[in-house]
């Protein structure tokens, strides 16, 4: 499965006819003493595209983002961002780059959101007046106009993240690197950050969106790179990623045809080798997990339960398809 995924990603690269002005990384290797953080990672993000970078903790996502932003150098490999070599032109590169870092501590907490933005705008070369105007526009754009005079230390996580997006947009970047921007946000906060980044992509920015929140990439990212232990396990579109999902575990709500709890042994006997049924998730609950065996299908299991007079009131996958694909790809190890 992994070989197939990597083959797919190779053929996708082979189809690339023109160099992009977004992100173009080729065979990146990064070593930290004895640890191999990235092992031959290649990646392309076109202008206007949102590319999700998935991977469990320690997969190498942040290392990749730091290399792309020129903060650290790769051990080997080439990387071009917005048409510039990230290793030899890091300063020129940063004029075209907007970064939303993963941590919260990237602002001066004792001064206001407005003053922070003005300061970073000036670091991008804007004069005082222009920096002030741009800061005001962006604070308005990210919905922080009313809190612009408040110290950043008094901002909530969500507000700090939006301020971070505003900072990344200071110079209308051609490339945006977003590292775990929503990991500690509530759904509404995540949605707002996604919308802001989505707007930037619509205006032509190439966006690399590193995340562990798998569900947020559906309908948002056009393509995905799945990293695990520094290696690319999958590269392609979200629908192609979902093809790797083979759900085998379902949460089912069961009820007996007669009063009382279902007879587990009876249900298991009916299912036979097709599936294994677990006790209720909580005492008195009607929710059970059934795990299908390799060659069984869900319909057969449901029919078997019905024959044993067990009613299936509801059924859903225990994990989302994206989660299933993620686990399928990251739990297998290449030989």
């Amino acid at each position: 499965m992994i070989e197939e995924a990597v083959r797919e990603s190779r053929s996708a690269r082979a189809l690339r006819l023109v160099p992009t002005t977004g992100i173009d990384a080729e065979s990146l290797v990064r070593r930290f003493r004895r640890t191999l953080a990235l092992d031959g990672v290649s990646l392309t993000v076109a202008p206007g595209e949102i590319h999700a970078l998935l991977g469990p903790n320690g997969a190498g996502k942040t290392t990749l983002v730091r290399i792309l932003s020129g903060v650290i150098a790769p051990t080997s490999g080439t990387v071009s961002v917005a048409g510039l070599d990230a290793v030899s032109n890091p300063r020129e590169l940063r004029t075209m780059l907007g970064i939303v870092p993963s941590g919260d501590r990237s602002f001066y907490l004792r001064i206001s959101g407005f003053e922070n933005l003005v300061f970073f705008a000036r670091m991008h070369g804007l004069r005082r007046k222009a920096a002030g105007q741009r800061a005001s526009e962006l604070l308005e754009h990210v919905g922080l106009a009313e809190a612009s005079g408040k110290r950043v230390g008094e901002y909530s996580h969500g507000m700090q993240k939006r301020l971070s997006v505003a900072r990344a947009l200071l110079t209308d970047p051609r490339v945006m690197l977003v590292d775990e921007a929503t990991h500690d946000l509530d759904p509404e906060g995540s949605r707002r950050v996604q919308a802001l980044v989505g707007d930037a992509a619509e205006r032509g920015a190439a966006v690399l969106w590193a995340t562990q929140r798998l569900e947020e990439i559906r309908g948002f990212a056009r393509s995905v790179t799945l990293l695990d232990r520094g290696r690319v396990r999958f590269q392609g579109s979200v629908p192609r990623l979902l093809e790797h999902a083979v759900p085998r575990r379902y949460v089912v709500r069961l009820r007996n045809g007669r009063p009382g709890e279902i007879e587990l042994q009876e249900a298991q006997r009916a299912l036979g080798r097709a599936a294994r049924i677990t006790p209720p998730l909580e005492e008195g609950s009607e929710h059970h997990v059934i795990a299908l065996s390799e060659d069984a299908v869900l319909g057969d299991a449901v029919a078997a339960l019905a024959r044993a007079n067990v009613q299936v009131l509801a059924c859903r996958q225990e994990r989302s398809e994206i989660e299933e694909a993620f686990l399928a790809l990251t739990q297998e190890r290449p030989s």
């Binding site: 990064r30 930290f32 953080a37 290392t63 730091r66 932003s69 020129g70 903060v71 650290i72 150098a73 300063r91 020129e92 940063r94 004029t95 780059l97 970064i99 870092p101 941590g103 919260d104 501590r105 990237s106 602002f107 001066y108 907490l109 004792r110 001064i111 003053e115 003005v118 300061f119 970073f120 000036r122 670091m123 991008h124 070369g125 004069r127 005082r128 920096a131 110290r151 900072r167």
Partner: protein, 274 residues
């Protein structure tokens, strides 16, 4: 606009940022000034024990211990405050988590280094003038008016030296993370062999000979000659001829060390770690 000009234009942004941050801790301003006043008072009482005839003369003028020590104290405060703050400026960015945010802007590392202490270099002279004013008014310090400008010029020639040491310390701190103890030790040694608080002649002969060539000793003696002895430009000029090359050398060393430290951090991927 040239790259250098565009980098220089960023410095006021750092000054504004640091002023706003410092102003948000108003109490620290007050305690700093109170500390200076306390220091002056301490030297006044110690000075009561010292026989003025044992003090060196400047421009033929006898000086009290307080006058002698006041100039040393001014320069000592300048060195200590400057070195510690230059060294810790980048470290503070590292601890706040803002260093990486700065490094991903198109700003040169030297601008970050310079900008991070620009506010201090404006604040420190104000602080020194205040201290001098307090001592002059409270304890009758006699400053030769004609020596003030030459002394400031000397201070200007000495600044790159403090800057260089500070930047070299910053490089050590970026590399080793913990450097406060080393820095305090360095400041103590510097104070001891520079004649800031007592005449160098009191040191053993061999140490006194070495100490006389120390740029800090050159600067403090030159300032005493100007401020207490009213010596003219010729005297200051001959001190500057010795001092400026040493200052520039120290600055070059600091810049190279800092550049190497940052390059090493990038290579190891540990820029933002603390």
């Amino acid at each position: 606009m040239s790259a250098v000009v565009s980098e220089v234009l960023k410095i006021p942004a750092f000054v504004r940022r640091d002023f706003l941050v410092a102003w948000s801790y108003r109490m620290a301003f007050v305690t700093d000034l109170l500390g200076l006043a306390g220091q002056a008072l301490l030297f006044y009482f110690v000075g009561q024990l010292v026989d003025p005839s044992k003090m060196p003369t400047y421009g033929g003028n006898e000086v009290s211990y307080l006058e002698f020590a006041a100039v040393g104290m001014l320069l000592g405060a300048f060195i200590q405050f400057g070195m510690q703050n230059i060294a810790s400026a980048v470290r503070n960015e590292q601890l706040q988590g803002t260093l990486e945010s700065l490094l991903v802007t198109p700003t040169a590392p030297h601008t970050i280094q310079l900008g991070s202490v620009a506010f201090l270099f404006l604040y420190i002279p104000i602080r020194l003038v205040l201290l001098l004013g307090v001592i002059a008014v409270a304890f009758g310090l006699e400053v030769q008016g004609s020596g003030v400008v030459p002394a400031l010029v000397l201070l200007l020639g000495f600044m790159p030296f403090v800057w260089g040491l500070g930047v070299a310390s910053a490089a050590a701190i970026v590399t080793f993370r913990r450097g406060a103890g080393l820095l305090a030790m360095g400041t103590l040694v510097v104070a001891f062999v520079s004649g800031l608080y007592f005449p160098i002649e009191l040191l053993p002969d061999w140490l006194a000979t070495v100490a006389e060539q120390n740029p800090i000793a050159l600067a403090v003696e030159g300032m005493r000659e100007s401020l207490l002895g009213g010596s003219g430009w010729a005297e200051v000029g001959s001190t500057l001829v010795l001092l400026v090359p040493m200052s520039l050398l120290a600055l070059a060393f600091g810049v190279v060390a800092f550049r190497a430290a940052l390059a090493r951090e990038r290579r190891l991927g540990t820029v933002g770690l603390y």
